[in-house]
Symmetry: C2
Subunit: 690 residues, 2 copies
């Protein structure tokens, strides 16, 4: 749960939205369909193939749900602090708190492996739409899902055959099934933490300032890619530009926006508005309350729960923004108008209408089924375990053992050959498990399962038996799966070892997984399958009517957005696009979350107060873009995107460039801080050559 | 926050609702407008004036937000356990936990005063509509509110002149201002706890079973009215009938339904749907999370937070039901149709339309203003202090001192002569204050104030200054207001003593109250005033078009509903209207909240398993009806209403008698339990004469 890994940017002036083609600086463009012509006309900047290739080669997707960029020839990678927050917590102990105090490797040997982290750099894109369509022709519901997932698994396996150790192949569904593309990634499974500032420096202002501006956050960190135990050689990196941009300067952001809903129908948006997002907000709020109190119980409880609480609060705020956008009646009205326009055009064209049918009705028909299955599906399958590592390990072990025995194309998608290496790495990398926090997470999940399904539901009896959530959680926390050796033995031993295990969490998952799988199967057959099939058809209709001069909804794959440094006007108040170091001293109150880390208290008067700290641009980015390089016209890195403004939060559903802003920490600020505050000459030299 | 003191019953099949006149067994009728003719026709039961007078004389409203009935000549009062839960907690210590273990006074001298509790029995109703209308004629906005509240204060003062010690006068606004009636109550300020079962017996099944049926809750308690230190003489009590009713038998429920929204316009319902209820659910969820974790920290934390958590969970579930009803598009559509029908009839009548104007437009115009002021009004005024007793004491002391100096008709309504005695009693009765829980409540309020108003809002600076919510709360919890003597000195000393006080909470309220009062004044001028004025006009239109053969929205004043013992059908499953003691043993798992209190574990085989435990009827009741007597055709008490079924939860907005059910604990069960489990022969004799 990362700051920019959940939601999407959007629009306050929603009535001005159009759902047809892209406008203004809107758009999260794929690298094989970037509107260079528009950019040339609007900004006079030439984005040619070499420029695109260079940026693509330096942009790395992180398995922590973030983006990043390679910035030196020795594999040094710039990302956000909040993208390595979980890593810093995993590496910490009750003696060394790298979140609170920061982490600075004095030399390369001190750089530490981030458990479970993989970095992936996109190398090629090929079109597989025809092959997928051929495999799914004439199929619906569960059959359609099975055929589609099967052919995808096969394409991925064939695409990386013989080079699996260094590459990963992923078929990406664009335009909700309008296109299927094979993305091939160079992967790095040894990613080490190099530098992270103090949390209080990276996240100054905390939750109150989150998604706000002006902002004074040094939300950056460095990790390094390793190969064969040595820093990777990365000649095609971005060049570090330590000069801040000027107001109005063109800016490009390359990264992996996670998810947007701009192509959904009005019916789908109503499901989000009426129960999906409200349910999520209620769930996150109670978990937030439990975690806040947990963290107040002791310094150690605060330390071990910090990253989870941060993720919960960040998600909460993002969903809250989405909810506020959805209840504005103009949004749904505009979407209904767009739906009906496209529908009208399809119906007016006999050939198209014969091909497309009425997918809007198909989606409408799915809605009551989805609503009826939703809670069971969420609590028994999609949200099962809510934050419990032990449950996550057990489920991965049980399911992997079961799935590995099947042919690749018959497996659950998350256990196909192309995905197994990441599953394995996450399972086997050592990473701390905190029993008190496990108890909290499991109790919470099981009590919400009982509450939402009701005490007498069959699912409640399957998961709880006659136990209370508190008692059962206590039994499960006795699991030995926190020990990576235990996990390794079960992974290697397969189903036989798992069946023979007397670990309480393994036994619990073995007993409950048939119920989870059953509701998943039903949900896919009755909800996901028909929905995906219908949205594919709507995508085809959209291509037929509007052409392909638009961008697909975000899919946590590499995109490029263009824009410029720009502030905005909020209820008549002009917000300028820059903050400076000097403003930090003015905002500090001495009390959390507005207090300074000791190094910064000491730095007053020693750093240049006129250095640009954070800045805003009108690039169209969303959750998942965290850590994305902000790039100047020459292709050099000038910052790392880490947030959006509050106005941007509703915009999973559309983009309004009068108010939607990206928030970026400048390379100028990072450089000045490394020199004057952290005195890390080694890093400064590696970045700037000086 | 009581089980039936927050929300209202309603309808799952909302599309079948009509918003014109009452249907089926719908209706919360005032005692001066009961539809005896309809009841005679439908049930063959004669409800004449003597019947009504007798029931009215025995029905007591409790200041804990509940209803009750006098059931013996010595002032013994039947209500719910959850209506005295706060009292039981106030009387408990870390040595004696009356919530967990129950409270049973062995003799009258052991009966204990419930802090802050007052019981009120309605004696007369007189119409004051003309007098109020004369005072407010031609006034709007703030002027209207001032004139209305002023004349109400005057009527109340005059109505009880010379008999204030024993009576309370209250002007009740019915039909949203269509009628103003003076209700005169005989009041009892010395109410003592007589008997409360164990929480686990009264609330078996806990939150999971709350608002569900079948149900096995002995949710009853007894308090006693005292006068001059002796049990009050109450010859006009209800007769105890220890026989359970039969299926289909007519049942009457007399009590104080708290609040319904059946007469609101569609615009007002949308405000509830789009932000008022969602905001409340989010707030309650986080507080719930904090309290759950707090209670897990120690036995003592569990004990002191139990009642607050219960109230939060109960409110949460009730609002959740309302939210689910509101997002069903048929509800708002039906309301829009009803609005537009009435509007059409008004416009078609030139005389009526000249008199009424367009109040629907007035209400529509208020909506954006309300939305803009809402958060500030809630966090600085309406919800200020969220659960903190210390803040509540300080605000009452500061405001009372200020208001008492003004003429009665110029005061804030809660400090007029007719209300001051209850304010004083609540302030001065000794009642425990728990510093740990105060810290939790204050931190929560202040952090939500900052979050919802934003860190840079003027209000946030007024309330927090440069402090964090945590630090400021710590300073405020050092207040000495937990000591009733300190409160008494400040109450008696008035504004001079308050200004001179160095108590941190008093100083905090003195510093922040101008901001709270300012936003309240603005909200009343721009939101409440125009809304009340417009709803008054709509009420007049409704009377003119539909006549007065309907009932007013609930106002926590005495009402009578009629109905019958009846089950219902839930998704094809028939739910029978009775549970029996025998079912309790089957449902018990031995784990919270499905475990039995020790006395009941021992009672298995000793009580008659065929005794009716709880039963359901189709009476139209809502929150505030908790503790209401269920009465048979002869006017005898046969149970105490304590809940509604889950289908009833959306029905603040309308009643559907195919599925809305009241849930009642039977006198049969209470009698059997007193005899066989609690062996309280004294109470049995007092109730039954045997």
């Amino acid at each position: 749960m990362k700051k920019l890994s959940i939601t999407a940017l959007g629009s306050a002036a929603l009535c001005a939205l159009s759902f047809g083609a892209a406008h203004a600086d809107e758009g999260m463009w794929t690298f094989d369909n970037f509107p260079s012509k528009t950019v040339k006309e609007k900004y006079g900047v030439t984005i040619d193939q070499p420029w695109l290739n260079r940026v693509m080669s330096a942009a790395a997707r992180l398995s922590s749900g973030c983006s990043s960029s390679v910035v030196t020839k020795d594999g040094l990678v710039l990302t956000n602090h909040h993208c390595v927050r979980a890593c810093a917590q995993d590496l910490s102990t009750d003696k060394a708190d790298y979140i609170k105090d920061g982490f600075m490797a004095a030399k390369r040997e001190d750089e530490k492996l981030c458990p479970g982290m993989v970095a992936e750099i996109l190398t090629t894109i090929t079109d597989e739409t025809d092959r997928v369509n051929a495999a799914t022709a004439g199929k619906t519901g569960e059959e359609f899902v099975k055929a589609r997932d099967g052919v995808i698994a096969t394409i991925e396996k064939e695409g990386c055959a013989g080079k699996e150790a260094q590459y990963r192949c992923q078929v990406v569904t664009l335009y909700h099934g309008g296109q299927y593309k094979l993305y091939t990634y160079r992967k790095y499974s040894d990613v080490r933490l190099v530098f992270a500032p103090e949390m209080q420096t990276a996240f100054f202002g905390g939750d109150p300032d989150n998604f706000n501006f002006p902002r004074y956050d040094l939300d950056f960190s460095f990790v390094r890619l390793y190969e064969d135990g040595k820093p990777a050689s990365t000649p095609e990196h971005l060049q570090w530009n330590a000069n801040a941009p000027t107001d109005g300067e063109p800016v490009f952001i390359a990264g992996n926006p996670g998810s947007t809903e701009r192509l959904l129908t009005a019916d789908q948006l109503k499901a989000l508005r009426d129960y999906r997002i409200p349910d999520t907000l209620i769930l996150l709020s109670e978990l937030r309350g439990r975690l806040i109190r947990f963290g107040e119980e002791s310094v150690e409880h605060a330390r071990i729960s910090d990253d989870l609480l941060f993720g919960v609060e960040n998600s909460f705020k993002a969903y809250r923004g989405e909810e506020k956008a959805l209840v504005d009646p103009t949004l749904i009205a505009a979407k209904e108008k767009a739906d009906s326009e496209l529908y009208g055009k399809v119906m007016a064209d006999p050939k198209l209408s014969a091909e497309i049918g009425d997918p809007w009705k198909d989606i409408a028909d799915v809605q009551p089924v989805q609503k009826a299955l939703y809670e069971t599906y969420m609590y028994e399958e999609a949200r099962a375990g809510i934050g419990s590592d032990l449950f996550g390990y057990a489920r991965a072990l049980v399911r992997a053992a079961e799935e590995k025995a099947k042919p690749n194309s018959d497996r659950l998608p998350e256990f196909t050959e192309s995905r197994l290496p990441l599953v394995e790495k996450r399972l086997l990398d050592p990473s701390p498990v905190y029993p008190d926090l496990e108890q909290l997470a499991l109790e919470f999940w099981l009590s919400k399962l009982r509450e939402n399904l009701t005490a007498d539901a069959p699912g409640t009896k399957t998961f709880l038996g006659k136990d209370s959530p508190e008692t059962l959680s206590k039994k499960l926390v006795a699991s030995k799966l926190a020990d990576p050796k235990v996990r390794k033995a079960l992974w290697d031993g397969g189903m036989a070892a798992i069946q023979a295990s007397d670990d309480p969490m393994i036994k619990f998952v073995l007993a409950t997984d048939p119920a989870s799988r059953a509701v998943r199967k039903e949900y896919e057959a009755k909800v996901t399958g028909p929905t995906d099939r219908a949205t594919e058809k709507i995508a085809k209709a959209r291509f037929a009517v509007y052409g392909t001069s638009t961008y697909p909804d975000a899919t946590f794959t590499l995109r490029l957005s263009y824009g410029k440094v720009e502030g905005w006007t909020d209820n008549g108040v002009t917000v300028k696009p820059f903050t400076y170091f000097g403003g930090l001293w003015e905002r500090a109150t001495g009390q959390f979350p507005f207090e300074l880390a000791p190094r910064w208290q000491a730095a007053k008067g020693k750093v240049n107060d006129k250095t640009v700290f954070d800045f805003t641009t009108d690039n169209d980015i969303v959750g998942g873009n965290s850590g994305s390089p902000a790039i100047d016209a020459q292709g050099n890195v000038i910052g790392a995107a880490f947030d959006g403004n509050i106005e941007s939060l509703g915009g999973s559903f559309g983009f309004d460039d009068t108010v939607n802003r990206s928030v970026i920490v400048s390379t100028a600020a990072i450089t000045e801080a490394l020199k004057k505050v952290y005195k890390d000459d080694g890093l400064v030299k590696e970045l700037t050559g000086k």
